[in-house]
């Protein structure tokens, strides 16, 4: 009898540890969305499923965001709005690190959800414009860059990080009151940000500097400024 109790105890403890260490699954995330009472579960599921498959977001991060939104007392439409913006960005194959991060930051700082939603929408547009600009220069996944003796094949992580950092640099430049009529300063801000991030290969940073002009970065900065003027 004692032997049986000991075995049951050991299995119980192991099961407990296993449960504690288990990572959340996509199903856990969808269950949380449903519990939140969202109106368009289908789009959320489609967007996040693509995000999990593309490895642009993990179920763990998505579940934590959903749980943080559950704690908010804001109307459900605003809470769902945060998730919908991220889901649509994932469907458009945009990197969502900046959007997810800003959502968490805003929630922690007690920023009203309508302000967070507005901020996320504007940043999503910037990400989209930067991705389009880089893609127009051929900077997409699997591009092979030959720069002197170095040959680099771009990974999804490298391209996504470059898009995120360039968009972030432009957003920060405009929000920080940087001059919009100084394209060289705008380009320098972007290049410095790309150069400082260790996840972006130096070859890619050098390639972007060569193929993207100051005027092209300045155009996106002006679009950001227009969006910020119109809440």
């Amino acid at each position: 009898m004692r032997w049986l109790i000991s075995v049951a105890l050991v299995f119980g403890l192991l099961g407990g540890f296993g449960g504690a260490l288990a990572q959340p699954t996509p199903e856990d995330v969808y269950k949380c969305f449903a519990e939140l009472g969202v109106s368009d579960l289908q789009t959320l599921q489609a967007g996040f499923a693509k995000g999990f498959s593309d490895k642009r977001i993990t179920p763990d991060t998505a579940l934590r965001l959903c749980q943080r939104l559950k704690q908010s007392s804001a109307p459900i439409s605003l809470r769902e709005g945060v998730l919908q913006i991220i889901a649509r960005a994932l469907l458009e194959e945009l990197p969502v690190t900046m959007l997810v991060d800003k959502a968490f930051e805003g929630l922690t700082k007690g920023v009203p959800l309508d302000v967070i939603n507005d901020d996320l929408l504007k940043r999503k547009m910037t990400l989209s414009e930067v991705k389009t600009l880089l893609a127009s220069k051929g900077i997409t996944i699997n591009l092979t860059i030959r720069f002197g003796p170095v040959t680099l094949t771009l990974t999804l992580e490298a391209v996504d990080t470059a898009i995120t950092e360039a968009a972030g640099a432009l957003e920060d430049y405009v929000r920080g009151g940087g001059k919009l009529d100084d394209p060289n300063a705008i380009k320098s801000a972007v290049q410095l940000r790309l150069a400082r991030n260790p996840l972006i290969p130096q070859t890619l940073t050098a390639y972007i500097e060569q193929v993207v002009s100051a005027a092209e970065w300045a155009q996106i900065a002006q679009n950001i400024a227009k969006r910020l003027k119109n809440p």
């Binding site: 991060t61 930051e105 805003g106 929000r175 940000r193």
Partner: protein, 169 residues
């Protein structure tokens, strides 16, 4: 009387006294030895003494470490440590991208009013925005940061870069 005469008289008197009591003085040494308690040292007692000494040294060392940790300055020279001087704060936390903006309490304050926290060992290389929360409500940027960005409501976030292992940021 001169000093030299006095000294000579004293020597003579002491010599006469010593001669008169020679037999008693000769036995004095043995008398003293007999009066002493028996002190045979056993090996067990010696090891006990060594053990007690080792414990005492360890205790002093631990006390030194504790005093060093609690009373000396925060390890702000370490690039893996974030610091904030805020002597009047009751609590200080750090919130950052690497914690998904979940506030993490900082250590401190030390004698100089410095609060500090060591970055997580498993932090991935990259760029991270962060801020300090004083007494659970007031957001403060890190004046030691080398980069700052504007965020919600014109607040300011500090920025830190984590280089891959073995490389300078």
């Amino acid at each position: 009387m001169h000093e030299q005469e006095l000294e000579a008289l004293l020597k003579e008197t002491l010599t006469q006294y010593a001669k008169a009591h020679r037999d008693r003085i000769a036995d004095l040494e043995y008398e003293i030895i007999e009066e002493l308690p028996e002190s045979r040292s056993s090996p067990l007692w010696r090891w006990g003494l060594v053990g007690a000494g080792a414990v005492a040294v360890a205790a002093v060392f631990a006390l030194g470490l504790w005093v060093g940790w609690n009373l000396s300055g925060a390890p702000c020279h370490d690039p893996q440590v974030l610091c904030l001087v805020y002597p009047n704060a009751k609590s200080v936390s750090v919130a950052s991208q690497f914690t998904l903006w979940e506030p993490i309490p900082m250590n401190g304050p030390d004698r100089s009013g410095v609060w500090w926290i060591r970055l997580p060992h498993d932090i991935k290389p990259g760029r991270y925005e962060y801020g300090f929360i004083v007494d659970g409500e007031r957001w403060v940027y890190d004046p030691r940061a080398t980069e700052f960005v504007h965020t919600f409501d014109d607040k300011i976030n500090s920025v830190l870069y984590i280089a891959p292992r073995g490389e300078q940021p």
